[in-house]
């Protein structure tokens, strides 16, 4: 695939990811947010945060299974969209729901497990968003960067529990998110074990002293390079 046609895909995905926000705007404009608009916005931004987290986590398996390596170039944007919707979700709570009532918010975070876990997950997303630039990857070094970004697994698990502990009785939707996440994590675990297994075998060539995980990251960063040139 040419660099130019991938740019088109990138733009298309960028715009597609804005649709949930556009929908909220449209519903708000036409009075379609229902009797409890704040609850509607909170739920919508929350489920989209979790959805984007899972899509982001799905990039690597999708890339490996399809062999379409360019997919990796979309991962940062998808991850940043997860952060974007998470920020909207948090702002809705902080501003529209609690109206900056710090005492109530602190009490909520401390006393309500579903809010504790949701709030923690959001906080953990911040360093990942801040270190998403290429400059930060270089500054941290691939290995440390990757270790830091493994936090996303805990964030996603936290997000699922945040959803699960919030519902009253109908756990169907959070369970679906949980199952998808479990599949994605199991895939990674299986891949990790396989790599470990092949790593313990004698090295194919004396030059490869880096860990396989690092190799795959270097690989991934490498894929972003053509993009750099366009920018």
């Amino acid at each position: 695939m040419t660099v130019k046609s991938f740019t088109m895909i990138r733009v298309a995905v960028f715009l597609l990811c804005l649709l949930p926000l556009g929908r909220l705007g449209w519903l708000g404009y036409t009075g379609g947010l229902g009797a409890n608009p704040i609850e509607f916005i909170t739920r919508s931004t929350g489920t989209w945060t979790l959805t984007f987290l899972l899509i982001t986590l799905g990039v690597t398996p999708a890339r490996k299974l399809s062999g379409w390596n360019s997919l990796i170039k979309l991962r940062r944007m998808l991850g940043l969209y997860a952060f974007f919707y998470g920020s909207l979700h948090f702002t809705t709570y902080f501003w529209l729901d609690q109206f900056f009532d710090m005492a109530a918010i602190v009490k909520d975070v401390a006393k309500r497990p579903f809010i504790t876990v949701g709030f923690s997950s959001f906080l953990l997303l911040i360093p990942l968003a801040l270190t998403s630039t290429r400059a930060m990857i270089r500054r941290l070094g691939g290995k440390r960067w990757q270790q830091l970004h493994r936090l996303v697994y805990f964030i996603a698990i936290g997000g699922v529990f945040h959803f699960l502990w919030q519902v009253k009785a109908d756990t169907r939707r959070p369970t679906i998110y949980g199952v998808v996440l479990a599949i994605l994590l199991t895939y990674r675990l299986a891949m990790g074990l396989r790599q470990k297994h092949s790593a313990s075998a004698p090295p194919a060539s004396p030059g490869t002293s880096r860990s396989p995980a690092f190799q795959s990251l270097a690989e991934e960063i490498e894929f972003e390079k053509p993009l750099e040139r366009i920018r």
Binding site: N36, D108, Q166, K168, A169, D170
Partner: protein, 320 residues
């Protein structure tokens, strides 16, 4: 019993029904005409809105009640499109979309148990059991939102007096229809169907506890619990069970659907209480539908003067 409310309005002050009805017709006709002029006969959208499918018939001879609040009622549209009625789905908007499958005529309510006069009431007879009253009540949902709803119904105690409970009747147990063909979500085990609720006898006898058959002067829309539901305004909304088919008088405290679902979170009493939090969220404040900022939740949902004596000496943290 001390009821701290103004006496009923004098009958001479009540507008004659003929005049009232004529006025309504006049207003309806003139507003339709005005709307037609204003919108260039764009009435299709107004008349064809989804709620019209379940719209009720006008209830006549409905009296005002001194128990009504003078707070502005929540719009009909919100009361009929934002519902917790899990038998039709767990989203707020699904009951309005799906409750059309509920057949409310013929409908019977079995009244049985520890009473002298067990009886199966036809809904149309039940609606004539006692004069219908409009009761504009606050409704506080356990989820932290509230509405002001102009119900039409009659005191539950009118039915209880007819049934004549024996000395063994300590509680009243209410049951919703069980029919997955009409209530599709009963195929999923979100709750242990059928939905069951209960009241202690003195709560059930309280004049604020009513059986509701109407809303905004018309028969109840299906999504709001047609054809007959309970409303207990000082308790969280889920106590006010919908689409009742059986009322049973029992000696032991009934196991309610929510107690079975999560005993740690939902107690038998479930009185609105800003000081006792739900284990997973605060109950100190609530969002009145139609308002942006939350307001303080009132003890017993603002009905403390009338009902607090029922719970004298009880630790409301234990009996939540």
């Amino acid at each position: 019993m001390l009821i701290n409310k103004a006496r009923d309005i004098k009958s001479s002050e009540i507008t004659d029904k003929e005049v009232y009805l004529n006025r309504r017709q006049f207003l309806a006709a003139s507003s339709l005409a005005a709307a037609a002029v204003a919108t260039g006969a764009g009435l299709g959208g107004v008349l064809g809105s989804p709620q019209q499918a379940h719209a009720g018939t006008k209830l006549t001879g409905v009296r005002k009640s001194p128990f009504s609040t003078n707070e502005p009622p929540t719009p009909f549209k919100d009361i009929t499109t934002y519902n917790n009625f899990y038998e039709f789905g767990t989203d707020k908007d699904t009951p309005a979309e799906r409750a059309g499958s509920l057949i409310t005529r013929p409908w019977t309510v079995k009244v049985e148990g520890e009473i002298k006069h067990a009886k199966v009431y036809d809904i149309d007879n039940l609606m004539k059991l006692s004069p219908l009253e409009e009761r504009i009540y606050r409704l506080r949902c356990v989820e932290g939102w509230s509405m002001v709803i102009p119900w039409v119904g009659f005191p539950l105690n009118a039915l209880i007096k007819q049934a004549e409970p024996t000395s063994r009747a300590k509680y009243v147990e209410f049951t919703t229809l069980l029919d997955p063909k009409q209530m599709p979500e009963q195929r999923r085990s979100v709750l242990d169907w059928p939905y069951v609720e209960g009241l202690r006898m003195d709560e059930a006898m309280h004049p604020l506890a009513i059986l509701v058959v109407g809303l905004y002067g018309e028969t109840l829309p299906n999504q709001d619990g047609a054809p007959i539901r309970l409303v207990v305004p000082w308790k969280y909304g889920f106590k006010s069970i919908k689409s009742i088919v059986r009322i049973r008088f029992v000696e032991n405290q009934p196991q309610t659907a929510w107690m079975k679902s999560s005993p740690r979170e939902y107690g038998f009493y479930s009185n609105v209480n800003p000081e006792v939090d739900h284990p997973r969220w605060s109950q100190a404040r609530e969002r009145r539908i139609g308002e942006i900022f939350k307001r303080q939740t009132l003890m017993f949902n603002g009905y403390a003067d009338q009902v607090a004596h029922l719970y004298r000496g009880m630790d409301l943290k234990t009996y939540f």
